[in-house]
Every structure is written in structure tokens, then in C-alpha cells.
């Protein structure tokens, strides 16, 4: 797929989602009042998983159609392996930070209650559970979901090639089943569950994949999006008003939180309908209102976000590391608003520059490969999932 025809909306919005995930993961961050979760019921996690499903189907669907199912499966599992290694790396960083704090801080006022290093009492179990993706400390809960989804993705992909509904219907029924029964997937330590319930969140990934699978009568769904536009706009507007009122109410108590008592809490673990319906409304809205060729997406201003979206694995991991670091700086040294803004600015800058560097590095690599082969194949790789 030549770069000029690729749908930059995917890159742009995924890049934006990655920035938002970074910002939202820095606790007590003033900038988090200006991310998507402040005004909608869904947050950047939905955007990330949905677009990841979409691009996975686009890239591996193409490989499936041109190079067969065996190679497509191998490529998907290879990607899952990369994510797994990244996850373990982040886990080790986390353990290092916790171990350090636990051994240097020893005040009984806190120790009786919060032995944060509990899992260090039985490291042999904790490490194994981490390798099995069952141990998901804070911040390390979305990658296990992504990995599991990718490992199972080859089956979904084969189904999508045959009949999209054969995948979509069971996926949706499983989602409904979770909503009704509240069934969850156990994790470690005992009594824990997967923060992102894969039985529910798989539907978002599959829905993205169904829309992204290549060759199906060229974006058959963009017509749908236009028909549904008024409803989607209405849902978005209602969600906006309600959620914004909650956000303001949170900062300034006298401001009423519209329907707060009726609608809160909104279950994120199970991706409750109140999150997914506005999200699909947003997807329809973007699909109908923002054309894939919108010049704004090619502008210099959008470029850093597009690059972040294109290097999503690296930038995602980097974002998680940076938010842990930002958290550390803010809680250890100073948490004034200026420092918060500085931490955000530095983090976003590092993410964008890293994306730029990775893009340069990979482009150079491809140029070399082209020189060597001189036939210039492998352009499908341009679009990374």
C-alpha cells in the first residue's frame, strides 16, 4: 500500500490516543481535564483498541489475501511476541521501582497497611504469574489484553475473509453475555480479575477488524456512517453535556453533575454499553465528517501525532514509562501546576521526537533493503499495526 493512499485518520487518532493515555496515566495531572475522557464516556483505551483492531485487519488481511493464511498467522504471532517482550520489559521496570521504594521507606504508619512489595514475598510465584499475564500491576493492564487479542486474531481473520458476520455475531454475543452475567477473567493475586475484561473488550477489537478488513466493497460502511450521522451526533452531544458536567462538578462541587446519581459508576472493566455506544457514535461521526484525504491530516501540525500513531507499539510503551516517571517526579519533588505542565510537555515532546526518530530509522532501513533487492517489495510494511 503506497503511503499516499493510506488512511491517515487511523494514525492521527491513534497517535492522539497514545498521547492521551500518557497524560491520563500521570496521576493528578491538570492536563487530564483536557483529554477525551473529560468530555466523553469512553476514553483513549477504546480508541486505541478499536484502531488497533482496524489496522490489524487491514495489514494482516492484505498479507492473508496475498501470501496465505500460514504466513499471516506467523506475522501476527510474531507481533504478539514483540508485545509480550515489551510487556515483560515494562514489568521489570515496575518491579525495580517498587523494590527500591519498599526497601528504602520503612515507616510503620504505612507498612502495617500497605506492604506494596507483597508480591516480593513470593517472587517465584509473582514472576511466573507475570509471564502468564495474570499479574497486572497498575499501568500494565492494557498490553496483556492486546497480546491476548492478537494471539487469537488469526482465527478471527480467517472468519472475516469468509463472512464478517460469522465473527461479529459470536463476538457480540460474548460481549452481551458479559454484560448480563458480569463474568470476568481471574488474575493474580487471588481475587483479582483482568482489569480490561478480554471477554468484553474483544468485541471492540473485532468490530474494528470487521471494518478494516481489506477489499470489501471499498468502505461499504462509510455510507452507513452518513445515514447514522444525525443519531450519532445526538448521542455524542448528549454524552458531551453529561460528562462535561461531571468533570466540572468534580472540580467545583456546586456545579450539578447531570444524571450523576443515575449513571455513575460507568463500568470500564466490562466496557459497559454506556461507553461503547458513544464510542461507536464518535467513530461514525469521524468517518462521516473527517475525510481520509483531509489536508489537515497532512499538515505539519498533525505530523507528530501521525508519526506517533504509526510507531504505536514503541510509543505506547514509552508513554507508559514516561507516565510512571512523571508520576515519580510529581510526587517526589513538586506537584505545582507549572511542574505538571512541564512534565506533560516534556513527555509529549519525547514521544513525538522518538516517533520521528523511529520513522527515520525505519525509512532508512527500507531504503537500504530496496537498494539491495532493487525490486522494492515489502511496501505493505509501511502500515504497521
Amino acid at each position: 500500500m503506497p503511503a499516499s493512499t493510506r488512511d491517515l485518520r487511523l494514525d492521527f487518532f491513534r497517535g492522539l490516543a497514545l498521547i492521551f493515555i500518557f497524560v491520563d496515566h500521570v496521576p493528578e495531572n491538570i492536563l487530564s481535564y483536557f483529554t477525551i475522557q473529560a468530555v466523553t464516556f469512553f476514553d483513549a483505551a477504546e480508541v486505541f483498541i478499536f484502531i488497533s483492531g482496524y489496522t490489524a485487519a487491514l495489514v494482516y488481511g492484505q498479507i492473508l489475501l496475498s501470501q496465505g493464511s500460514l504466513y499471516a498467522t506467523a506475522r501476527i504471532l510474531g507481533r504478539a511476541w514483540q508485545l509480550y517482550v515489551a510487556h515483560i520489559f515494562l514489568f521489570v521496570m515496575f518491579i525495580a521501582e517498587v523494590s527500591y521504594t519498599v526497601t528504602t521507606f520503612n515507616n510503620p504508619m504505612y507498612n502495617d497497611e500497605m506492604r506494596v512489595g507483597d508480591f516480593l514475598d513470593e517472587p517465584h510465584v509473582a514472576i511466573v504469574k507475570a509471564l502468564l499475564l495474570e499479574f497486572q500491576p497498575t499501568f500494565l493492564d492494557i498490553l496483556p489484553l492486546y497480546i491476548l487479542l492478537l494471539v487469537l486474531f488469526p482465527i478471527a481473520l480467517l472468519g472475516l475473509r469468509w463472512r464478517p458476520l460469522i465473527v461479529l455475531i459470536p463476538s457480540f454475543l460474548l460481549y452481551l453475555f458479559v454484560q448480563v452475567t458480569n463474568v470476568s477473567v481471574p488474575a493474580y493475586p487471588e481475587g483479582h480479575v483482568w482489569y480490561f475484561n478480554p471477554l468484553a473488550w474483544q468485541f471492540l477489537f473485532v468490530a474494528g477488524a470487521a471494518l478494516g478488513f481489506p477489499g470489501r466493497r471499498d468502505r461499504w460502511w462509510s455510507g452507513w456512517a452518513r445515514t447514522l450521522l444525525p443519531i450519532a451526533a445526538l448521542v455524542m452531544a448528549a454524552g458531551f453535556v453529561v460528562k462535561l458536567s461531571w468533570t466540572i462538578h468534580g472540580v467545583w462541587d456546586p456545579f450539578p453533575g447531570v444524571l450523576l446519581k443515575e449513571l455513575w459508576p460507568v463500568n470500564k472493566n466490562n466496557l459497559s454499553p454506556i461507553r461503547i455506544i458513544p464510542f461507536f457514535a464518535a467513530v461514525a461521526l469521524v468517518a462521516a465528517v473527517v475525510p481520509a484525504e483531509a489536508p489537515a491530516l497532512r499538515s505539519r501540525l498533525a505530523r507528530p501525532l501521525v508519526l506517533c500513531g504509526q510507531q504505536s507499539l514503541e510509543i505506547f510503551c514509552l508513554g507508559i514509562l514516561l507516565s510512571a516517571l512523571g508520576h515519580f517526579v510529581l510526587s517526589e519533588y513538586d506537584s505545582a501546576i507549572e511542574t505538571q505542565l512541564l512534565v506533560n510537555l516534556a513527555g509529549i515532546l519525547v514521544m513525538c521526537l522518538t516517533a520521528r526518530m523511529l520513522d527515520w530509522y525505519k525509512t532508512m532501513g527500507r531504503g537500504q533493503a530496496r537498494l539491495a533487492v532493487s525490486s522494492g517489495s515489502g511496501s505493505g510494511d509501511r502500515l504497521r499495526i
Binding site: I30, T101, D112, M114, V116
Partner: protein, 255 residues
């Protein structure tokens, strides 16, 4: 909630001015005897909700029974004795304010329990005491163990419903603050959840976390660098301060 937390962040410039004004007065080293100066900004002492059952009991001059359920900071082991724990100090303060009344604060702290485990203790540890007010200190273990925030919210809701059904007033108490623990534990989600549950149910949430943060930032107490032999006395002083603020909160809610 992120709320209270950020509300105080936003008020920072005003706070800064106030702090500068007070810099003219040399600060007393807090560790040296006497009652520590544990003032907090007014916004942390804003009490919008009432304690109707307690108010009725007080008005009728009937004996008041309060149950404090919570974790290690409720048991008060860190201070050295249950007499120094905040529930006992609270009982003393309330009794001092109104010597003619009979106030009992029952300590039902058990270290390292999640909100769910505390809720399971309600039928045996709380309800049989026939309290008119329950002070529920919770959230720490949930944050440490990373219990799902939705589960945490549901547990709090169930506990509030149960207590309300028994005609019991409630004060929720959030977590303890220290720099070191906040670097490795993400309290924010749990703080937000706890405060929002209180908000939605018109239940008072005592902002212990923000108070302790304030004391830490104002160098009233140093939670992170305290020497080994001063740790117990630090805990006792903090519990004393918290009991005082809690008593004041109760008084404001009874107005």
C-alpha cells in the same frame, strides 16, 4: 474529587500567598512536645452533608455509640497503643466537648483488609454494636492490591446502603498520604472513586489524604524522613490531629 485533590491544587496560588505571609513568624519545630499545629485550609473542612441520626441522638441527650471500622491506621498499632489510635482520641475529644453526654467510639480496625473484607465484617463487627454513626476508613488495601475500581465503588455502595438501611449515619475516611507510597501506588483512582461515591450518596468523606499532604508540604510532619525512634510518636501525633479534625467535621455536620 480528583476533585478535592485538584481543587486544592487550583487553590495553590492563594495558599502560597498565605504561606508567605506566615513565613514572617518563625515556624516551631513540630517534633518538640505540646500539641502539634495541625491546621488545614478551610476548603478541607467544608462539610456539606448532615448526620441526621446522630443529630437526633445528641438532641435527645441519649448515649452515642460510634463504630470506627478500618485498617491498620484505625487500630493504631503504629502509635504503640490503642489508646493513641484516632478512635479513642476522638471519643475523648467528643466527651470533652460535652461532658454530660455519653460517647463511645468502638475500634473495629483490622489491618490490611480490602473494602470488600470490611463489608463482610459489617454483620458481626458493626451492626451488633448498634451504632448511630459509622466511620469507615478504607481504600488503602484496595489501592495496594489494585482491586478493580468498579468493584471498589460497588462495595462502598453496598456498605452505604446497608448502613443506611439500619438507620446509621456514615463518614468515609480516605487513605493516608506520604510521598514514598504515592510514588509506587496509584491512589488517585481510588481517591476519586471514594469521593464520588460519597458525593453521589450525600455521605461525608473526610479528606485525610489531602490533609496529610498539606501537613507534609507545610513541614508540619515529615512522614518520609522520620528517624526510627520518633516514628511511634509521629504516628500518635498524626492520629491526634486527625481525631481533632474528625471531631470538628462531626460538629460542623451537626450544625
Amino acid at each position: 474529587m480528583r476533585w478535592q485533590v485538584t481543587r486544592s491544587r487550583l487553590a495553590r496560588p492563594a495558599l502560597l500567598v498565605a504561606t508567605l505571609a506566615f513565613m514572617a513568624i518563625p515556624p516551631c519545630p513540630p517534633a518538640l512536645g505540646g500539641a502539634p499545629d495541625c491546621n488545614v485550609p478551610d476548603e478541607l473542612m467544608q462539610v456539606d452533608d448532615k448526620l441526621p441520626h446522630l443529630a437526633e441522638r445528641v438532641r435527645a441527650k441519649q448515649p452515642v455509640r460510634i463504630v470506627a471500622i478500618g485498617g491498620a491506621s484505625t487500630t493504631g498499632v503504629a502509635a504503640g497503643s490503642p489508646e493513641l489510635a484516632y478512635p479513642h482520641r476522638l471519643q475523648q475529644i467528643l466527651a470533652r466537648w460535652d461532658p454530660s453526654s455519653s460517647v463511645t467510639v468502638v475500634n473495629r480496625g483490622v489491618p490490611r483488609q480490602t473494602a470488600r473484607q470490611m463489608l463482610e465484617r459489617f454483620p458481626t463487627d458493626v451492626i451488633p454494636e448498634d451504632p448511630v454513626l459509622v466511620i469507615w476508613e478504607t481504600g488503602t488495601t484496595d489501592a495496594v492490591r489494585g482491586v478493580g475500581v468498579d468493584d471498589f465503588a460497588a462495595t462502598l455502595q453496598a456498605g452505604i446502603d446497608e448502613l443506611k438501611a439500619h438507620g446509621v449515619d456514615i463518614v468515609l475516611v480516605d487513605m493516608q498520604f506520604s510521598h514514598s507510597t504515592t510514588t509506587v501506588i496509584d491512589f488517585e483512582r481510588y481517591l476519586n472513586t471514594l469521593h464520588r461515591v460519597g458525593d453521589v450518596n450525600d455521605v461525608i468523606v473526610f479528606p485525610r489524604f489531602e490533609m496529610m499532604r498539606y501537613w507534609s508540604e507545610q513541614n508540619v510532619f515529615d512522614f518520609d524522613g522520620v528517624a526510627k525512634d520518633e516514628r511511634a510518636s509521629l504516628a500518635a501525633k498524626v492520629y491526634e490531629c486527625l481525631a481533632g479534625k474528625l471531631a470538628e467535621t462531626i460538629r460542623l455536620a451537626l450544625r
